[in-house]
């Protein structure tokens, strides 16, 4: 009697735990769908009222203009893409080189020092990085490029590169370390030196992890707000070169959401920006996922 009761209880417990994990899995999906639909519901009325052309084929954003209110997000999208691209151009080579050094070249003692330092870098608040951009990086850029000020896309790229480096380095390093020793031994036995082994064998074998790290770093750069808000000038004009000041999508939302009337056209247009930004990061993640799968299949 007690045995069957115990058995029932045990089975019940098993079921409960299973359901608990199932719910947790679903919560993540529900939250994602919730955010997606919130952005869509809040933003759609503005989209319907102003139309596709006003938002996407118009570079002029000035919703509080006394002359003509304007809701073009083209300049912001270009700004966000520019600064992200700039950041990746700087951070990817540096990050991979640094990861390869830590994983493959550095002495254990050196590794003990460098790894925690990079992890500390990840903990610096974005406001502090933005402040550095104004005080240190900006004047330096002005001097190097011979322009009057350094509040532009280059400044943002440098700062975002610094901020995405820890992500890129630590995940790439994990990937490089986990390449089986046999691969390297085989390469060395065939007469390749350590450099050739690293470049031709170790890094290609770790490529899926490295791509994932770059994508995560890119996600960080696209979504970063405070740093670019402080150090990039926020001029609404369409940027043409990297020495132009830029105004990213995130900065616009952060600056303007506080003062808009809830439910107004300006408020809803900010949700349209947020929705587009969401789609962009979603796309980055999707592409990285597809690339990863392809790569893993090729490897097998």
């Amino acid at each position: 009697m007690t045995k069957t009761l115990k058995n029932v209880l045990w089975r019940f417990q098993e079921k409960a735990i299973e359901n608990f994990f199932l719910t947790n899995g679903f919560i993540a999906i529900i939250i994602l769908l919730g955010i997606f639909s919130l952005l869509f519901i809040e933003g759609f009325p503005a989209f319907r009222e102003l139309g596709f052309k006003e938002f996407f084929l118009n570079a002029r954003w000035d919703p509080t203009s006394p002359e003509r209110e304007s809701y073009g997000i083209l300049a912001m999208v270009v700004s966000t893409l520019m600064v992200t691209l700039g950041a990746m151009v700087i951070a990817v080579p540096v990050g991979i080189a640094c990861a390869a050094y830590i994983a493959d070249v550095a002495s254990p003692r050196m590794r003990e020092i460098v790894k925690p330092v990079i992890e500390i870098l990840a903990g610096i608040p974005s406001v502090v990085v933005g402040f550095l951009g104004i005080i240190v990086v900006g004047p330096l850029i002005a001097k190097i490029f011979g322009i009057s000020n350094g509040l532009n896309a280059i400044n943002g790229s440098v700062l975002l590169a610094i901020m995405s480096l820890p992500t890129i380095i630590s995940i790439s390093e994990d990937a490089i370390v986990s390449v089986p020793q046999e691969f390297k031994n085989a390469s060395l036995a065939l007469g390749a030196n350590r450099w050739q082994t690293l470049i031709r064998v170790t890094i290609p074998s770790a490529m899926s992890g490295i791509i994932a790290s770059v994508m995560l770093g890119m996600g960080r750069a696209i979504g970063e707000t405070m740093t670019v808000l402080m150090a990039c000038g926020n001029a609404p004009a369409l940027p043409r070169v990297f020495t132009d000041p830029i105004r990213t999508m995130t900065a616009t939302i952060a600056i303007e959401l506080g003062e808009t009337v809830q439910g107004g056209l300006h408020y809803r247009s900010l949700f349209v920006i947020a929705f587009v930004l969401f789609l962009m990061t979603f796309l980055v993640n999707l592409v990285s996922d597809i690339v990863l799968h392809k790569y893993q299949k090729v490897q097998q």
Binding site: E67, N149, G150, M230, P245
Partner: protein, 295 residues
């Protein structure tokens, strides 16, 4: 057994909350006013230890939006409320009362190395509209003008657009900086820069003009003499063309703790602090206006 205790502690919490509510004031709004109002509230709290005043910034637009939503007792603003905002407030059952707590000589600043020392209001407007884009067109060296302004949630942004740009659009090339202090830092680092800030921000903490900064003399039009906002008689007499009032708005006629605090701000001690923070005391027509709100 547990429930009565819970109910009792809840009741105590509510009672305690009530007895303190009277003495807690939330102030939000203008970044031009934030340092001044913070200083005023610090001194006031020292004298009245049972008072708690929280001052936050965000911009005049943000403060006014918070007042309309009835989330704050006082909104700081460096511009008057717009008609649109008044209507929105009334629809929400909020009746804004306007009090002027000081006068600002809105300062147009350039880099100390720039030889241009004075401009007319019309020239400044044309520069910020983007119609004049090189310093050589206003008697300076040949270099493109680099514009520094505030963000749209700033009262200074709106005031400047209305009174200097004649309600036209800012140039799309203007950099939108996050507060007065950032504009000052930007201009000090930028030889070709021009920007506008509340006069309290052109001094350092010892009351000296910031090094590497030039505060332009401004003329009403080409026929009048340019005057500097650094001398208080220019601002008080109205000779300086872009002086403006600094406002606080309350929901309904100020009473109790809010009234006591505003009375302190407008009193001798408060107005002395206004001057210490490099703004100018309330005078003339504004004194009359404050009477309407009961001061």
């Amino acid at each position: 057994m547990k429930r009565p205790i819970l109910a009792l502690s809840l009741a105590i919490l509510l009672l305690a909350g009530n007895s303190y509510a009277q003495d807690f004031i939330q102030i939000k709004g203008s970044d031009t006013l934030i340092n001044l109002v913070q200083r005023l509230s610090e001194v006031y709290m020292e004298e009245n230890p049972n008072m708690a005043i929280a001052v936050t910034g965000g911009g005049s637009g943000v403060g006014i939006a918070a007042l309309i939503a009835d989330r704050v007792e006082i909104a700081d603003a460096s511009r008057p409320m717009k008609d649109k905002e008044m209507t929105a407030a009334k629809e929400n059952g909020v009746i804004p009362y306007e009090i002027v707590i000081g006068i600002d000589g809105l300062s147009v600043i350039t880099n100390g190395a720039n030889p241009v020392k004075s401009l007319t209001v019309e020239q400044i407007g044309a520069i910020f509209r983007g119609e004049i884009s090189n310093w050589k067109d206003v008697g300076g060296p040949a270099m493109p003008i680099s514009l520094y302004g505030r963000q749209a949630n700033s009262g200074t942004y709106v005031f400047f657009q209305e009174y200097v740009l004649n309600n036209k659009d800012y140039s799309a090339k203007m950099k939108h900086m996050n507060g007065n202090a950032q504009i000052v830092e930007g201009i000090i680092a930028d030889k070709a820069g021009i920007g506008y800030v509340g006069i309290g921000y052109v001094y350092d903490d010892k009351g000296n003009l910031r090094e590497g900064l030039n505060v332009l003399e401004v003329a009403k039009d080409a026929a009048s003499e340019p005057v500097t906002p650094l001398l208080d008689e220019n601002v008080k007499s109205g000779k300086y063309p872009i002086a403006r009032a600094l406002y606080q708005y309350t929901n309904g006629k100020p009473k109790d703790a809010v009234k006591a605090f505003i009375a302190f701000e407008l009193g001798a001690e408060g107005q002395k602090i206004v001057q210490e923070m490099s703004f100018y005391p309330v005078s003339g027509e504004y004194l009359e206006q404050n009477k309407k709100a009961g001061f």
